[in-house]
């Protein structure tokens, strides 16, 4: 069984997922959806890391993904706590209305 898939296939999928995440970051105004787009970016990086790990036969990429997932879990907890605290104060999560620090 020979597979025609190369490293480039996985890297292109990863790049497209990253581009979608960036588009979400730029276009959306809901802080929670922006956060989800950020998670998509992290996952695109994870896919690239696992693909490199597989095609170079080095396990370190998968260990790095393990750490990324652990850090992302901590990051989501803190970020959502910040969003909840913001909502409690301003009654909105739209980044258009959170302009206190804007000059």
């Amino acid at each position: 069984m020979t597979s025609a898939l190369t490293l480039n296939h996985y890297l292109i999928v990863s790049g497209l997922l990253f581009a979608l995440g960036i588009a979400g970051l730029i276009l959306r105004r809901n802080a929670l959806v922006i956060y989800m787009a950020l998670e998509m970016n992290l996952n695109a990086a994870n896919l690239a890391l696992v693909a490199f790990s597989k095609f170079n036969k080095i396990v370190d990429g998968q260990i790095l993904v393990f750490f990324v997932i652990a850090i992302a879990a901590a990051e989501v907890a803190v970020g959502l706590a910040i969003i909840v605290a913001l909502y409690r104060r301003k009654q909105t999560v739209s980044v258009d209305q959170l302009t206190t620090m804007k000059l």
Binding site: F18, L20, G24, I26, S53, F55, I63, A81, V84
Partner: protein, 166 residues
């Protein structure tokens, strides 16, 4: 075209479609549910790459814990679906130029032959023992620092969710 290739195309296309729906749907609950699907399809891609442990923790941690947290906060905050709005023309131009630059970069990088890294050992089998051995030998310090970081994050969340910061 064998089963492996067909599964790759299925998972990739389904994952990218889910990603599109995540950023396109106006209801945040729908976005979150499409993100769960995206994580599951990504776990499928990890299985195809023979990273079974990573696929398992992808489903357990991301699709399980993280997304439950997301949905919990969405329900808690009672967010209405965002209304249709006019796009800022400058924002659209900026988004497309960023995406174009990114694809251009990807094209340059992928057109060059990739040198295999030195030090590649035996074939990865994706089981636990191949990951865990270096994790507890070479990566002991980062592992412990991660534990500390999770503790700090937990304390930070408790502090942030208090009614009055004193």
């Amino acid at each position: 075209m064998n089963v492996h290739d067909i599964l790759f195309w299925f998972f990739s296309i389904a994952m990218l479609l889910c990603g599109l729906f995540v950023i396109a749907s106006r209801n945040p609950v729908a976005s979150a549910l499409f993100l769960v699907l995206l994580f599951v399809f990504l776990a499928g891609l990890f299985v195809l790459l023979e990273a079974f442990f990573i696929a398992a923790i992808q489903v357990l941690v991301y699709a399980g814990a993280v997304m439950v947290l997301f949905l919990f906060v969405i329900m808690l905050l009672d967010i209405k679906a965002s209304e249709r709005r006019k796009f800022n023309i400058l924002g659209v131009i900026g988004a497309f130029s960023v995406a174009g630059a990114f694809i251009w970069e990807l094209d340059i990088i992928l057109s060059r032959p990739v040198q295999p890294l030195a030090g590649g050992g035996e074939e990865l089998r994706g089981g636990l023992e191949q990951i865990v051995k270096p994790l507890f030998a070479n990566y002991m310090l980062p592992f412990e620092v991660t534990a500390l970081l999770l503790l700090v994050a937990m304390i930070g969340v408790v502090l942030l969710s208090k009614k009055e910061l004193k």
